[in-house]
């Protein structure tokens, strides 16, 4: 395993970056008082110091506590939405590609049309239409409502290439039924690919949730990474030179995205050995 990580540099970089974040969250959860992530709990606008390593913001939040409490929330939104997206996408993608004909045309057209629409804007309409401020879980559901489009499309095209393989043909001749073939023959062969799709869906869902939050449509009470950035812009922290306020969420978000990105590239390399030659 370790030997393989050495050869697959992208996978290693991804795992290491996300590993650092996990350690940060775990150690933070044990040592940092996350109640300081609420406004009015510490002195305002202190630059990083020994007492407050990440500084404090204008509304009296300890930014270290905000990061410790907020990073898991943001990742949670991403994972819930990403899982729902890939789950629904896998069902639709397998159904469309395996059964073909009308089902395929219908599912493919919906996914294709849905993808040309800018997701964030539809999410904005949904978020605005819902009454009041969202909770973190509602946020995840809202983001998930569009997260299945991309997985559907990519999984469908992968299944199409597998469908005509010899072993599927043999399974069919042996009298296996459609769902059985999908689960016992096609699914195992696509597992690495599904994993790569899952990671990129999680990343896309996190991006969408942060986008909504920066626009002020997120869970106002929760200290997620995106909401932190919303307060940064709300208080014009950049023009005022309070760099530590945005530096902390920026570094964490960049680590999340880079980690997930390199993980996807690494998993792609497992799923598609052709890429190895190119590296």
């Amino acid at each position: 395993m370790l030997g393989y990580l050495h050869r697959n540099v992208s996978l290693m970089v991804g795992v290491v970056l996300l590993g650092i974040l996990v350690v940060f969250m775990a150690v933070g959860a044990l040592t940092v008082d996350t109640s300081n992530a609420q406004p009015l709990s510490v002195p305002t606008l202190l630059p990083p110091s020994w007492d407050y390593p990440f500084g404090t913001d204008r509304q009296g939040r300890d930014l270290l506590a905000v990061m410790v409490a907020g990073t898991p929330l943001t990742l949670w939104i991403g994972f819930v939405a990403g899982f729902i997206g890939v789950g629904v996408g896998a069902v639709l993608g397998f159904t469309a590609a395996y059964y073909g004909r009308v089902v395929d045309t219908l599912i493919r057209s919906i996914a294709d049309i849905g993808l040309t629409v800018p997701g964030l804007l539809v999410l904005i309409i949904i978020a605005v239409s819902l009454k009041g401020s969202l909770t973190v879980n509602q946020m995840a559901i809202v983001v998930a409502s569009l997260a299945w489009l991309n997985p559907t499309r990519t999984i469908r095209s992968q299944v199409l290439t597998l469908r005509e393989r010899g072993y599927v043909e043999i399974a069919r001749l042996n009298g296996m039924r459609g769902p059985e073939i999908i689960f016992r023959e096609l699914m195992p062969n696509l597992l690495p690919y599904l994993a790569a799709t899952l990671v990129s869906s999680v990343s896309a869902a996190i991006l969408a949730s942060i986008g909504l939050e920066v626009l002020g449509l997120g869970p106002v009470e929760a200290p997620t990474l995106g909401m932190t950035l919303y307060w940064v812009f709300f208080n014009a922290a950049i023009i005022n030179g309070w760099w530590w306020w945005w530096a902390a969420p920026l570094v964490v978000i960049v680590m999340v995205f880079l980690g997930l990105f390199f993980l996807t590239v690494g998993l792609d390399e497992i799923a598609n050995p052709r890429l190895r030659r190119a590296a």
Binding site: L115, I125, L130, A208, L258, R274
Partner: protein, 334 residues
């Protein structure tokens, strides 16, 4: 066949418009929100008026806007209004129409987004092709890791860093807006230069992030194409390596790139909205943010609808160009 293809694609475009209008109409209805009542109560609360009589006002307005009619009637009215380009009035900036406000903002976004997208697509594609080519200069390989890393972060986060460095620390470029406050919007060089200076940072944050993505995708396609038999055959025929590179490899590898462009437009736009917001760039994104802040429902709806239609149109144009790039399309069943 060619005509049939275009007609079909245009049909898809019309379906997108209809879906956007329908979504725009029904999603808010599902939530049971009443924008008129909300807004009236809000202004009453702000002005400290008594609430007596507000129900009568709500009724009066609902009659005026046709909100007391049955739902299917409202839907037909809405669709016919929208098809004539009537997107209603802005709630927060009353005498102004939504269509008018969008028309003011749209050119900024089209200019910023159109230029940056075309540029990063072209630059990224060329770069990606060169990266896969064994004959490319060695220093190019060092470009790849930073471009990959940049590609993984959202536009607006890079924008944040650029803004801090170049607008706040060094103060080389303006930090906010599309032109200087007090500048005279005339068609002369000073104003053009001013606009350009304001556009540099938003444009850079889009370009630097996008280029890596296009380069990455193109490189992947080039690697696959270069393994094809017809490339080996071209080599065996003794064709010049430049000919193989441009006429055999790029020509084939570029097709999925164009498909990718059509699919990515929505994502690019979503990202650009946030860039406009943080830079206060006077385009659609900033207008949308303003509308969300002011709870201006009709404006939000109008913007979402317009953007979906604009992107649908862009996709349609790409679809029409596509057979010209890939002649197989026009005689295969599209």
């Amino acid at each position: 066949m060619q005509l049939l293809y275009i007609v079909k694609r245009f049909g898809v475009f019309l379906i997108i418009i209809w879906l956007a209008a329908t979504l725009n109409f029904f999603l808010p209805k599902l939530s049971g929100q009443d924008p008129v009542r909300t807004k009236l109560l809000e202004s009453a609360a702000l002005g400290g008026y008594v609430h007596a009589g507000i129900e009568d006002m709500v009724k009066e307005y609902q009659q005026k806007f046709g909100l007391d009619k049955p739902l299917w009637r409202q839907y037909l009215n809405y669709v016919s209004d929208v098809s004539r380009g009537d997107l209603n009035y802005s709630i927060a900036n009353y005498p102004r129409t939504v269509a008018g406000m969008i028309a003011d903002a749209l050119p900024w976004t089209i200019a910023l987004l159109g230029l940056t997208t075309l540029f990063s697509f072209a630059a990224g594609t060329v770069l990606g092709a060169l990266l896969a080519w064994p004959g490319a200069p060695r220093w190019m390989r060092w470009l790849m890791p930073p471009l990959w890393a940049l590609h993984a972060i959202p536009f607006f986060l890079l924008g944040l860093v650029l803004m801090y460095l170049f607008a706040f620390q060094f103060q080389w470029l303006p930090i906010f807006g599309g032109y200087s406050a007090g500048a005279n919007p005339a068609l002369d060089w000073t104003f053009a230069l001013d606009v350009l200076r304001h556009a540099v940072l938003p444009a850079l944050s889009i370009v630097l992030v996008s280029v890596g993505g296009w380069a990455l995708a193109m490189r992947g396609m080039m690697v696959t194409t270069m393994g094809e038999d017809y490339v080996t055959f071209a080599e065996a025929k003794g064709l010049r390596s430049a000919t193989i590179f441009s006429r055999y490899c790029i020509r084939n590898a570029i097709l999925p790139q164009v498909t990718g462009l059509a699919l990515a437009l929505g994502q690019i736009l979503s990202g650009a909205v946030l860039v406009e917001v943080i830079f206060g760039y006077p385009g659609i994104g900033a207008l949308l943010f303003q509308a969300i802040e002011e709870n201006d429902f009709f404006l939000i709806q109008g913007i979402v609808f317009t953007v979906i239609v604009a992107l649908g149109f862009a996709t349609f144009v790409l679809d029409v160009i596509y057979p010209w790039l890939d002649p197989r399309i026009s005689y295969r069943r599209a």
